[in-house]
Symmetry: C2
Subunit: 366 residues, 2 copies
Amino acid sequence: MEYETPLFFRVMGYAARADRDVIDMVSGNPDWEPPAALREALHEYADLDPDAFQYPPSPGLRDLREEIAARRGVDADQVVVTNGAGEANYLAMARALERDAGSEVLLTDPVYPYYPGKTTMLGGSQRFVATDADGHLDPADVRAAASEETAAIVVNSPNNPTGAVYPAETVCELVAIAEEYDAILVSDEVYDHFDLSGRFESALAVDSDHRIVTNAFSKSMAITGFRVGYAIFPPDLVENAESRHMLVNVAGSRPAQYAVLHALRETGPEYYERNRDLLGERVDAFTSALDDAGAEYTRPEGAFYVMARFEGYPGTLENVERLIDEAGVAGMPGEAFGDARADWLRFALVTPRAEEAADRLAAYFG
Amino acid sequence: MEYETPLFFRVMGYAARADRDVIDMVSGNPDWEPPAALREALHEYADLDPDAFQYPPSPGLRDLREEIAARRGVDADQVVVTNGAGEANYLAMARALERDAGSEVLLTDPVYPYYPGKTTMLGGSQRFVATDADGHLDPADVRAAASEETAAIVVNSPNNPTGAVYPAETVCELVAIAEEYDAILVSDEVYDHFDLSGRFESALAVDSDHRIVTNAFSKSMAITGFRVGYAIFPPDLVENAESRHMLVNVAGSRPAQYAVLHALRETGPEYYERNRDLLGERVDAFTSALDDAGAEYTRPEGAFYVMARFEGYPGTLENVERLIDEAGVAGMPGEAFGDARADWLRFALVTPRAEEAADRLAAYFG
C-alpha cells in the first residue's frame, strides 16, 4: 500500500528554492496574530508544577472537552480532542469504515486531497460526486451515488478549495442520506469561523446518530502548528474512536491544549470577526485584480481560497512551477483537488501580500 | 472491531474516587522536574511571531530531526518525529504489517498492553513468547516462534513491566532473526536513560534494514504530556511511514517540539544522571521494604517498575481495588500484562512516596 504525498510539499519546496521573491499562496497558514490569551497561557503553563507536564486524559483535558461541548450543545463525553482536524477526520473515517456497513467513501470533486489519501490508507474505496461550477453540492447527486456500500460521506463546508458554504437544506439532506443508507456523514467544519456568506450551517444542527462533526482551532486561532482539534461523535460511536485515538497517539499535546482552553475562555467574538473581515477585504482586492487579469474565478463564500482559471494555462504542477519562476506567485495546481478543476489554480489568501500577488498575476496574464 | 481499553484508566479512576489517601503507583509519569531549558524555551516560544505557530514540517522540525540524528548516528532523513513513542510504535508496526511479508506480530509475555492493542487495530495477529522469570528473553524461543508469517518482533528494553535490560547478544540475535524471516524488529527504547545495569544496548548498534527503533522524550525529560517521540527507519521504509504520519496527524505539536529541541541542546548529562540515581535509590528502598513484607519480586535492571507477588493475593483487578481501599496503595494488576504475570502486581516508582508505599504494603501483608 503506498500513499500519495500531497503536492503541497512539492510546491512549497519549489517556491522556497526559487531564485526570486515569491509570494506564498500555497498553504492555509493564517498570517495574523493568535489570541493574546493564548500567548499568556503558554507563559503560565511554562511555570507550572511537573505534574502539569504529564499525560492529559487520553480524550483531552476535561475542561477543554466541557468548554467545547458547552459551545456546541453536546455532551462532553461525545467530544474527543484530537491532534488537529487531521486526526479528527482520520478517527471519524476509520469509525465509519469499521462499522461493517459498507466500504465505500463518497467524496466531492473537487476534493480536499487528504480525504482520498485517508480513505485508501484505511482500506476503503472512493466514489466521487461532482459539485456544481460554484462548488455547491446537489444532494440529489449524492443520493444517486449512495448505496448499501456507502460507509461514509465526507464533506467540508466552508469548502477548501472551492469556497462554497453549504446551505442548511444541503446539510439536512446529507444527514438524511447518511441515515437512509446506514452511512456516516463526516462534516469537516474547520473553516466555520470564516463564513463570509452568513449562511453556514453546522451538521450539529441536525440531530442524528449518523453524523460526526470535526473541527480544530488551527484556523480560528491561527495556530495550525499547535495541533488541537476535535471530533463530536454520536454517543454509541465515541468509545471505539477513543480507543483508536489512544492506540495511535495516547493523547494530544498538553501545552497546546492548555493554551487553547484559556484562549477559548478569554477571547471575545471581536477577535474572530476581525480576522474574518480581513479575509473578506482580501477576497475583494484579489478578485478585483483577477478581473483585471481577465481570469475566470469562483468568489469564495468562506474559507481561505480562491480558485481561478487563466485562458490557455491549465492547473498542472508544471504551470504552477512556471508561475513561481516567471510571475513570483506560488499557488496550488488544480489537479491536486481532482479532475473537475484540473484547469484551475488555487490561491490561499492568508498572506498580507494577496493584493500584490493579484497585481503580479494581472501583469503576467493581462 | 473493538479494542480493549487499557486497565490503567480504570485503576486510576478507582484510586481517584477512593475515600482515603492513596499513593499512586499506577502510571509511568515522572514526578521530577523537566530540564530548565525546556521551561525557558516554552517562554521564548510564547513570544515568537505568528509564523512560528504554524505547521512544522510533517516529519518534525528539521533542526530537531538533525539533533536526534546526530545523537543516534543516523541520517536525519531516517528520523520521523512523532506524537510520542505511542505514535512511533504505531507507525513502525503499521509499516511492518503492510510490507506483505506476514501478518503475525511476535510479542513477549509479559507484554506492554499497547502492543497487542495496536496489533489488533492494525489487523495483525499476535503470538506470544514467554520471557524467563526475570523478564529476559531467550532468542532461541523467539526463533522457534518465528516463521514466514512473522511481520514484526516487538520488544522493549529497558522493559515495562519487568525491568529487564536485554544484553547486546540478545539485541543482536533479535535483529538476525528479523533478517532471517524477512520481518521487522521494532525496538522500543523509551526507558533508555533509565538503565540501572549499565548493560543497555540499542538496536541501532546493529546495522540492518530490518529494524526500526522507537523512542521519546516523555520519560527522559519528564514530559509525558508533551507528546514528542521519534522513530528511526531504514532508508527504504521511511517514506511510506512519513505518509501515514501525515495522513493521520499532519504533524506533531510545534510548541512541544520547539521546547524539546532547546532542552536537548542545552541539557547536560548530569540532568539525566540525577534522575537515574534517584530511581536507583527508590528501587533500593522499595525492594528492601518488599523484603520486610515477605513478597517475591523482580529487582529491575532499568525502567520505572517493580513487579511483586504477595502470597495468596493474585494480581487481579479486584485485588488491586482492595489494595487501594485497604492499604492505600494503587498498583497495576499483573493480568494486564499477559498470562505469565497474572499472579503479580506492578508498582511504578515515579512517586516521592515510594518508600512510604512499601511500608504500607509491609504493614498490610507483613
